[in-house]
């Protein structure tokens, strides 16, 4: 490492620093500030303190929509944690077994949906689930479950669950790859020693491999959390900005979009939108902070 700050360092550093500061860091801070303002009909802004937040949390019209979106977002995250990450773990565990033929092919194809645009994924599944086309009904019929079919995406009771599973289907490649990488990084002699001691593969997985990849599982959890509480595209593509039916698929991202741009009778409000974005920011920040505290603790425990 060279010491001292010279004009060369500045030349190397400035382009990245300027663009990142101007178009990422500054807008973020400015959004936090804007959430404290309000605008009248002429667009003149005035400082309003916590008014926007009080409105969101206390005005029945706003608080209902907000808590609905928050609850849906938590469910969205919960469904990812229950389906995406365990299935990703299962696939990674199977792929990392020794002598599994075609494992590279499996891996490549499992990761493919992750690369496709959410817009494509959304429409593909919409077509497949459409009662008009009848593909899912026919497929269920092949399994003798034809009577089970319902227009899941259109029902208030099942729309959120269905959309969440589409998202799970798309993004399962990420936890799978991260966990797979952690599993193959485990030193072979640890596992062999256990085998010699007579441990079954099942016990080796639960008592040796799984504890060793806990940090990766933590990373997967926080990545899922940030992605889920920032999600928007899939719901917008499949259910539109209104996140129907009757807001049953509304999450914070779609609420933010509607608040910022307006819809039907609701007027667009950048300041209110900034307030919603600030709340999303705080939620994500809490998640990230919680993750670092938990991981820090765990590392300390391992050190003992």
């Amino acid at each position: 490492m060279q010491s001292g700050f010279s004009w060369r360092v500045a030349v190397f550093l400035l382009p990245a620093l300027c663009i990142y500061a101007l178009f990422s860091a500054f807008p973020l801070l400015d959004t936090l500030r804007l959430g404290l303002y309000t605008a009248n009909e002429n667009g003149v802004r005035s400082f309003a303190g916590m008014d926007n937040y009080i409105t969101i949390l206390q005005d029945p019209q706003w608080s209902h929509a907000f808590w609905n979106a928050m609850a849906n977002n938590l469910k969205f995250f919960g469904i990812h944690m229950v389906f995406q990450n365990p299935i990703g773990l299962l696939l990674a565990a199977l792929l990392s077994l020794k002598n599994v033929r075609f494992s590279a092919t499996y891996r490549t194809i499992f990761f493919l949906p992750t690369l496709l645009s959410v817009v494509i994924i959304g429409f593909i599944w919409q077509l497949i689930l459409s009662p008009l086309w009848g593909v899912s009904e026919r497929l269920l019929g092949l399994l003798g479950l034809g009577d089970w079919f319902e227009p899941w995406l259109g029902l208030e009771s099942s729309a959120l669950f269905t959309v969440s599973l589409m998202s799970v289907w798309q993004y399962i490649g990420i936890p799978m790859m991260l966990i797979y990488a952690a599993l193959i990084a485990i030193p072979e002699d640890i596992v062999e020693a256990a085998l010699v001691e007579g441990a079954t593969p099942w016990r080796i997985f639960w008592f040796i491999r799984l504890p060793l990849i806990l940090p990766t599982l933590g990373l997967v959890t926080i990545l899922t959390f940030v992605a889920n509480f920032n999600a928007f595209d899939l719901i917008y593509t499949v259910k539109g900005a209104m996140a129907g039916p009757n807001y049953s698929t509304d999450i914070l991202g779609t609420l933010f979009y509607r608040t910022f741009f307006g819809y039907q009778s609701q007027v667009a409000s950048p300041t209110m939108g900034a307030a919603v974005a600030t709340i999303m920011f705080l939620v994500i920040l809490c998640g990230v902070a919680g993750y670092f505290l938990a991981v820090q603790r765990r590392l300390q425990r391992f050190a003992l």
């Binding site: 001292g4 060369r8 990245a16 990422s24 807008p27 429409f123 497949i128 910022f260």
Partner: protein
Amino acid sequence: MHRTSHLIRPRFDTSRVFVHATLIAYLLLALLPVLLVLMNSFKSRDAIFNDPLAWPTTDTFSLIGYTKVLGRSDVMHYFGNSFAVTVASLFFILLFGAMAAWALTEYRFTGNRWLKFFFAFGIMVPIRLGTVSILQLMVELQLVNTLTALVLVYVAQGLPLAVMILSEFMAQVPSELKDAARCDGVDEFRIFFKVVVPLVRPAIATVAVFTMVPIWNDLWFPLILAPSEKTQTITLGIQQFVGQYATDWNAVLASLSLAIVPVVSLYAIFSRQLIRGITAGAVK
């Protein structure tokens, strides 16, 4: 589950069957939806509805969807926009990201650690949350409905990860190489471009693949910063096209297939790089 032998002596047994049955089941689940769209896009309208699960035959084969979609000149225009935005963003992310990573790993100066943290912060916090202010800024700079606006935002979004990954790799460049060049009086800029950049080329390729996909697929910023007919990207174009023509199934299936093809071909070329990047990054 309690048979250990297969780990030592691979042979045909129940657990091996279970492993492959599970993997194949998931393979079908991952692949069938995409296949279903691709194969129906080559069928006539009647055939799409009458037997959606059948392959196109000589009777049912039809390119009507593709002629309809490609007949609209704007589709190629949208592809061009996406291509321009993605390539320009990648170029600046890689160039500026590599330069910043080099400055942060090679030179010791006050604020170095603080700057690293500043960049690292952007990895976890989505830039989308600053949209209100980004739009305002673009209005003031008169960049709304330009591709430049998108490039600026994507460069800002891509830099944190690029700086982090490239720093890791640049820290591993042997100091003998740099010192030898310095002794010969080679300028710092030449050292960077002639010695360091070629050495970290694999890392640059990995960052490129990682960064490219979210930019190509993004819907949010094109929708907000550049929704005009002239500046639409392919992702936004497909979103609006399929929304408007939802009843013309031939056109919908053809446009979805067209949107899938570039990404799948790129993946076919770069999948090894991408997978190696993820696995290497995660081990560290």
